[in-house]
Symmetry: C2
Subunit: 339 residues, 2 copies
DNA sequence: AAAGTTTTCGGAAACGCTTTCGGTAACGTT
DNA sequence: AACGTTACCGAAAGCGTTTCCGAAAACTTT
């Protein structure tokens, strides 16, 4: 476990450690031949500079922290891959932590990352109600932070978000244009910006085409399959049978799908279904699920780029917000007139 | 971005930095009152010891590295959650890196982790053919390393694996007992231990019940949906229609399912299907897919425990291998006599 | 050939902490 | 009253680097 240090290399070559350091950092005040000689011998000896010591003195770690609510679903992993793609290229390492949708854990994670002197953070908020103070404080200190997907409008930081409003509108519009009337919306946690925006999009579409609805058509379900299934089951048992359902994500939509199938109703004949935040599941369920796909990898890449900009400007670049577009993938679950 | 250091706290209280350090490390040679006083003031000042400096001097980072091939599918993320569950409790941070199934990236990741002085690593090998030298070297140096899922039998390290042989046997046996005869196996990359074991299990079951098969029944497909679909399509076009298929994982099985459905054949009436390494998809496809579920979280927890044991014994504990059991979840995709 | 420049290098401080060593004060012991 | 113990604390070395400062060596210039 003994590491070879800069001293070993220096001694071996009868030079000072400063010189070895210079060779590795490609400084101007070193002779070309000395440099190549040092690098060559160091390589032979298997010497690699200790990043910990380097971090300590440089006050720069080339690490960035990423905090996400979970990574069981493929959504966040895909974003993370996008993030890594950009950051690895610039020599950064990415530390991934998950908050398990818990605000307290989220804070602990952030403090850990801070203690470990990450050069910046990319955060997606947990679904719990939260207090912004710590984030505001972080930003005031000039700490580079970028939020994505789950953001809070009251935090003046760079953000990259999906245009939930617009695409919820399109998803709903699609159902309207197919001729469905009684259109329900299974919404995510309604204190989340993203849910509010989807609800707004849903309302906007119905309003525009003068499709009647009541506030009871909008039901808060959270983000899990069981919730979608339970709510749908309840609706059916109550005899409240929608013609179509627009769910806040695929998972909830598929939960609803299960309930509908169990009730021996047909999709889309009896009830049409549209998901959101398309997952791989959309294409393998039966019938295939209409959904709105998000550019997850792109979201990660954009977040990383914004962060790099913050970092290189010492955290005093003006915050930017990037809004990403998606695509509506129409599949059988919402095609009027299928069997 | 200016951090409060131990010096600031010391100056404020008119004590030496050693004393502050002692307070934080709960050493014996400090008076109780001094300690509580220091802790209190430090808390007020917002001081937290700098982990980087601590790592440098202690030669111990309380970080462990995890290298997985990917985390798009839920399998590895679940294992990672299990790992974190154990390690966080012991004050360790977990750094996750992915090799993208590429051996070169895997090595780079490992070196990065090594440079960052992680106290140990938990690794699942990429599917590329690899050379063991670097791992052997690591182990020789006494570096704590645990492998899981994708292991190599020639590396004498602690491992936690699934009993692929046994459960491939059970999966196949199930098909046999349902009365299917012409049973194909879509195998993963055959140089992987895990694939070989599954093939052995498959053969064993057929041999035991004297169900005839040829080597052509075993087809290497890799791990992706497209591959399962392509192979199945080819089989059907060639008129080589199996009565049942045992696939190396759910993804491949579902790929096959797609091909079968496209050919307008019925599952399980025309072709029965069994997956492996059960994913959430098993329960949402139509018909639901029979599969073997693995205790992913448990696998992570076990790997973490083995690693902790290696770490605390200075890397000279004898390597242990833990073999985990699974469960066969029979669903409609393999029930003989369904419509 | 002396002086001024530039190139190249070594010494030493610093990053923020832990830990060893030694010292002082307070106490008990004879 | 002299000594040994114990409890507590400070000084300083050290972890492996980078970087500032100054000096020697090598060139240029006059």
């Amino acid at each position: 476990m003994k590491h070879i240090t800069i001293k070993d290399v220096a001694r071996r070559l009868n030079v000072s450690i400063s010189t070895v350091s210079r060779a590795f950092n490609n400084k101007y005040d070193i002779r070309k031949e000395t440099r190549t000689k040092i690098l060559q011998v160091a390589e032979e000896m298997g010497y690699r500079p200790n990043p910990i010591a380097r971090k300590l003195i440089q006050q720069k770690t080339f690490n960035v922290g990423v905090v996400v609510p979970e990574f069981i679903n493929s959504y966040f992993p895909e974003v993370i891959i996008g993030i890594q793609e950009i950051l690895h290229k610039q020599g950064y390492q990415v530390l991934v932590m998950q908050s398990n949708e818990c605000y307290t854990t989220e804070l602990i994670n952030i403090k850990t990352l801070e203690d470990n002197m990450v050069d910046g953070m990319i955060i997606s908020l947990s679904q719990e109600i939260h207090n912004n103070d710590y984030y505001l404080n972080l930003l005031e200190k000039g700490y580079p932070v970028v939020f994505f997907n789950r953001v809070d409008e009251d935090i003046p930081a760079s953000k990259v978000v999906f245009d939930d409003y617009k695409w919820a509108y399109f998803a709903t519009e699609h159902l309207v244009k197919q001729g469905y009337k009684k259109i329900y919306h299974l919404s995510g946690y309604q204190h989340l910006n993203l849910s509010q925006n989807r609800i707004r999009g849903y309302r906007k579409a119905l309003d525009k085409f003068s499709v009647p609805y009541t506030s009871e058509y909008i039901i808060e379900t959270g983000f899990y399959m069981e919730e979608g299934q339970a709510i749908m089951k309840k609706l059916l048992e109550e005899g409240n049978i929608p013609e179509a359902v627009f769910a806040t994500n695929d998972t909830v939509a598929i939960g609803a799908m299960k309930a509908i199938k169990k009730a021996r109703l047909k999709i889309p004949k009896d009830i049409a279904l549209v998901g959101f935040t398309e997952s791989k599941m959309a294409d393998i369920v039966d019938p295939p699920l209409t959904s709105v796909s998000q550019p997850t990898f792109e979201m990660g890449r954009k977040a990383a780029e914004l962060l790099l900009r913050q970092i290189s400007s010492d955290g005093f670049a003006a915050p930017e917000t990037v809004v990403l577009n998606g695509r509506l993938n129409v599949r059988d679950s919402s095609r009027k007139g299928l069997r």
